[in-house]
Symmetry: C2
Subunit: 355 residues, 2 copies
Amino acid sequence: MKCAMHTGITQCRHRLPRVPPTVWSRQWRCWMQQRATIIEVAHRAGVAPSTVSRAFNKPRMLRPETVRRIMAIAAELGYEPNVNARALSTGKSGMFGLVVPDITNPFFAPLIRAAQRAAENEDLDILVVESDSDPERELRLVRRLMPRVAGFLLASSRLSERKAREITELARVVFINRDIAGTARVLTESSESLKHGVAVLADGGARHIAYVGGPRKSWSETERSSTVIEAAREFDIAITHLRVEAGIYRDARALTPEIVRIGADAVVAFDDILAHGVLDGLRHHGIDVPAHVQLLGCDDALPIETHPSISTIRLRSEEAAVIAIRLLIGDDGDAVSSARIGLQGVLELRETTRG
Amino acid sequence: MKCAMHTGITQCRHRLPRVPPTVWSRQWRCWMQQRATIIEVAHRAGVAPSTVSRAFNKPRMLRPETVRRIMAIAAELGYEPNVNARALSTGKSGMFGLVVPDITNPFFAPLIRAAQRAAENEDLDILVVESDSDPERELRLVRRLMPRVAGFLLASSRLSERKAREITELARVVFINRDIAGTARVLTESSESLKHGVAVLADGGARHIAYVGGPRKSWSETERSSTVIEAAREFDIAITHLRVEAGIYRDARALTPEIVRIGADAVVAFDDILAHGVLDGLRHHGIDVPAHVQLLGCDDALPIETHPSISTIRLRSEEAAVIAIRLLIGDDGDAVSSARIGLQGVLELRETTRG
DNA sequence: ATGAAAGCGCTAACAC
DNA sequence: GTGTTAGCGCTTTCAT
C-alpha cells in the first residue's frame, strides 16, 4: 500500500496518522524530522533504491557519473543512511565495544581517545564500558554488548584464560595488554626498558629493590614483576615484592612504612600513580628521593608533573589502540586473525633515579 | 516464501545459502550463532510473534500465565531481543550520546562512570565521544550520532548558544555545566563555595588575587571568574585576571612568572590541574605556599595528592550525571522538559590556604 | 487477551 | 551497470 504523504514519495506506514498531526503534538516532531530515506533519494535521482545503496557502499560498481549524481542529491536532501536499518540488514552494527577495567585510571584516557579517532576514520563508533576490574562484570558486559557491536577491544582484561578464549569464539576480539596464545593481541610492553631501568638503579648503587606491584590479574603486572625480579637477580640486587591490589595512590602511600622497614634503597612501582604515592610517603618520612631511595615508575600517563619528576617508562598505548582497531576491522574474514604485536616502551630517566 | 531450515521454523532469507555451509566457512559461524528470534519463541510457546513482543514490552497487557510461559521458553532458548531490529522499528536506539570536551581531563572520568551506571540500570548504553573542545567538531559529532542515539548528554558544551538551542529542537538533550535558559541542564556550581573561599583568602591576609582562568567558552569558567571578581570587590581585594585557554598543567606552570611579577599574594585557579601547575611554578621560584602565596583550586578530581595538598572545591559531578540521565530518560514525552538543576560544590580547605 | 500482517530503511541475490 | 524484490527481527495497528 502506498499513499501520498507530504512528499508523495515515501510509503505510508499504517501506524502513522493519515493527516499531518498538529504542530504541538509529539508526532509533529517525528513528522518534521522525518529524515530522507534511500527511497526518496532514489526517486529524485531517477534510480532504484538499491542503486543508491550501492552508491554509498560499493561505488566502484556503478558508473562514476551515477554515483556523483546520487551523492549530490543525497547531500542536498541531507540524507544520511539509517544505521539501525543497515545494522539489521547486514548484521553489522558499525560499533565496537571497548572494555576497560577502570575509566578513572589516566592510562586509559589516551588509549580510548586513540581508539576512537582510529575508528572514526572508518566511520565506526566505539562504545566504552568499564568492568571495575571484575571478571564477572566484564563477562556480563560483553554478553550485553554482543548484539550491539561488531567486535570487542578488551583492554587489560581480567577474564580467566578459558573465558577469554570462549569469547573469541563468539565474537571478533582483540586484546590489549593480555597475552593469550592463538588470539589477536597487542601489548604495550615494558620488559626491555624495565631491565634497563633496573640497570640504572644498580648503577646508582641500589642494593635492595622494593617492587610495588599492582592488580594481580593484570598481564602488565605479571610482565613487570617477573622482569624486575629477573633483572634484580641478574644484577645481584635483593628484591622484596609488595603489592597494591587496588592500584590507587592512597594505598601506595600507606605502604611506605613497610618500604622503610625493609630498608630498600630503590623502589620500582607498577605504575606512576603508585610511584607517586610512594614518593609522597617517602618525603613524609623525611627520606630524600633520589638521594636516599631511588624510584622508577611506569606508564608516563599522569596529567601532571611531580617533584621530583618520576623516572618512568613511556608506554605506547596510542599506537597500541590504533593497531588494535586495525586488527579488529581486519580483513573482514571469519574471526580476527591471530597475532601478537608487542610494542616496547621507552625508558624516561628523570629526577628520581641517580644512574 | 518459506522454507524449512534447520528448525523448519524461521523464514528463509534468500540470500542465505540453501544448505548448511561447511564448518570452516564464515557462514558456519553465522549459522551456529544464529540467535533465537521472536518467531522461534512464538512457535515454541504456541503463540503469535506479537504476543512474545508484548510479553517483553507490555507484559501487563497479557495474562500473567502467558507471560510466564513465554519468558520461560525465551530463557530456555537464550532469546534476547535484537536491539537493531527494535531500534529500526521503534526509532529508539536504547543509547545515549555523551559528549565531553576532553576525555583525558580527570574531571570527566567519574562523571562518565556515574552516567553509565545510571543508564545501565535502565538497560541503556552510553556512547562517549570527545569534542576536543571544538564547537565545530562537537556539532559534527552530534549530527553523526543523531541517528544512533535516543538523546544527548552534552557536558561542558562549547557550542554557541544558538547552535545549542537548535540541537534541542532536533533531539532530546540535557546539558551538563552549560546554562541555557529553556533547556534541561544540570550544573555543578562552585559560586557559593568560591565566595566562601575568597573570604578565607581574605582572612588569611590576601590583598591581591590572581585568577587563573580556563577555557573561555566554558560555562564553568564564566561562573568562576565572575564569582571571584565579585567576591574580590566585596572584600576589597585587588584582582588580576589571567588565563590558560588550553587548561593544561604545563601552561599554568609557565604562567607563574607573571603571577610573581604582578605581586599577587593569592591565586584562585580554574581547576586543580591549573592550581597544581601554579603550585609547582611557585615552588620553582622559591615561593612558599601558603606562607607567601595562598592557592585555591577547583574540582577536586586529581587522581593523586599534591604537596602541600591543594585547597579546592569538591564538585558534585556524579550526582549531576545521575540527575542528567534521569532527565534524559524523562517522562518520555515530547522533548526533555526544561529544568535548571544547580548543585553547589563543597569547599575543602587543605594546606594551600591560611584562613 | 491474542492473532494477522504491514512496515521501519536498508542490503544483497537474482534477473536483465 | 542497474532494477526488482525478499527479507533482516521487531513493533504496532487493527480485527477478533
